[in-house]
């Protein structure tokens, strides 16, 4: 491989890496939701916490939002459904974008 081809490959890889990172950031932005007037991330940590507390603790239970303020969760089933729905909306969009990056390689 000559230096010109190497630079071209490197630039292409960099472009794909930045686009992929942007797609992930887009997904991270989309994971942020407002529920019961508080802000949460519909990420794996929140989903697991709400699912676990819903299973092993009677309602209501309490968790903290993104600003560390406590929130009463009285309907964990409803909250979990919203979290999972938003999580999969964001991550499936990221998955679709990732597929287009693979084709460019």
């Amino acid at each position: 491989m000559d230096i010109g081809s190497l630079k071209k490959e490197s630039d292409l890889s960099y472009g794909i890496a930045v686009a992929k990172r942007n797609a992930l950031e887009k997904a991270q932005s989309r994971l942020i939701i407002v529920y019961k007037e508080h802000i949460f991330r519909a990420d794996s940590q929140t989903i697991n916490l709400v699912k676990t507390l819903g299973e092993v603790h009677s309602s209501p239970f309490y968790i903290v939002d993104t600003n560390d303020n406590p929130v009463e969760i009285s309907n964990p089933k409803e909250f979990l459904q919203i979290l999972v729905q938003r999580n999969q909306e964001a991550i499936s969009s990221y998955h679709q974008m990732s597929k287009t990056f693979e084709k460019k390689k």
Partner: protein
């Protein structure tokens, strides 16, 4: 148009009459005319950004989402923040869409900066005090800039609001929008804008993003 399409909120544009006359009128927008305070500059050009402190009294709404004119909302992500329990929310991070991490602002001051490009506030006594503090710091900005050792000496709302929030909250922190504002640095030239996203040129390369909000810092697009 993007605000109407994606956020579905009533819109009030604060501008001067000259700018209003130079743009295509849109019937669904309310206008508030001000005479911008002049004298602030960025890279040697007039920078019309000094009037943000007036947002509280100029807003006709109980809950307001303030947005710079160079912030393109290609999503409805921001709309939900009008329905929170919080009185005042501002993001404190930005995300560099070019992948260069150029917004590592802590090197440039002793105070973590906020990104006052986007603010959400309610009209109440607490927020009124925040804006009064903003006005006070603006009045003595050169003193506060020196005290916080801010590298940039021109007035920047990001520092103005960061200082006000730190002061009024007794140096204990404050509530934030957990968003990293997707931002294009000033050396990126926007080459195309559609209903869903935009394309930019940087270092002889064209990149684009869709269905993601974008804050464009290149002032050739809009001098705010």
């Amino acid at each position: 148009m993007l605000v109407k399409k994606n956020l579905k909120l009533p819109i009030t544009v604060v501008t001067n009459f000259k700018t209003f006359k130079s743009t295509k009128p849109m019937g669904f927008i309310n206008y508030k005319f001000i005479e911008p305070e002049l004298g602030n500059t960025k890279l040697g050009k007039e920078w019309n950004n000094v009037d943000r402190h007036m947002a509280y009294e100029l807003s006709p709404y109980d809950t307001t989402l303030v947005m710079d004119i160079d912030y393109f909302c290609f999503t409805d992500n921001l709309a939900q923040f009008l329905d929170t329990d919080y009185d005042f929310l501002v993001p404190n991070t930005a995300y560099d869409l070019t992948g260069r991490n150029t917004f590592d602002q802590r090197k440039w001051s002793m105070i973590p900066m906020v990104w006052a490009t986007v603010l959400v506030f309610k009209k109440n006594h607490k927020v009124s005090k925040i804006f009064k503090t903003v006005k006070y710091i603006k009045q003595y900005y050169s003193y506060f800039v020196d005290m916080y050792r801010v590298y940039a000496k021109n007035l920047r709302n990001d520092y103005l609001f960061a200082m006000a929030l730190q002061q009024i909250n007794g140096f204990t922190g404050y509530d934030k929008l957990p968003l990293a504002l997707p931002t294009l640095p000033p050396d990126c030239e926007v080459v195309k804008i559609t209903d869903n996203g935009l394309a930019w040129k940087h270092d002889d390369k064209i990149s684009y993003i869709e269905n993601q909000d974008v804050h464009v810092l290149n002032k050739e697009l809009s001098n705010v």
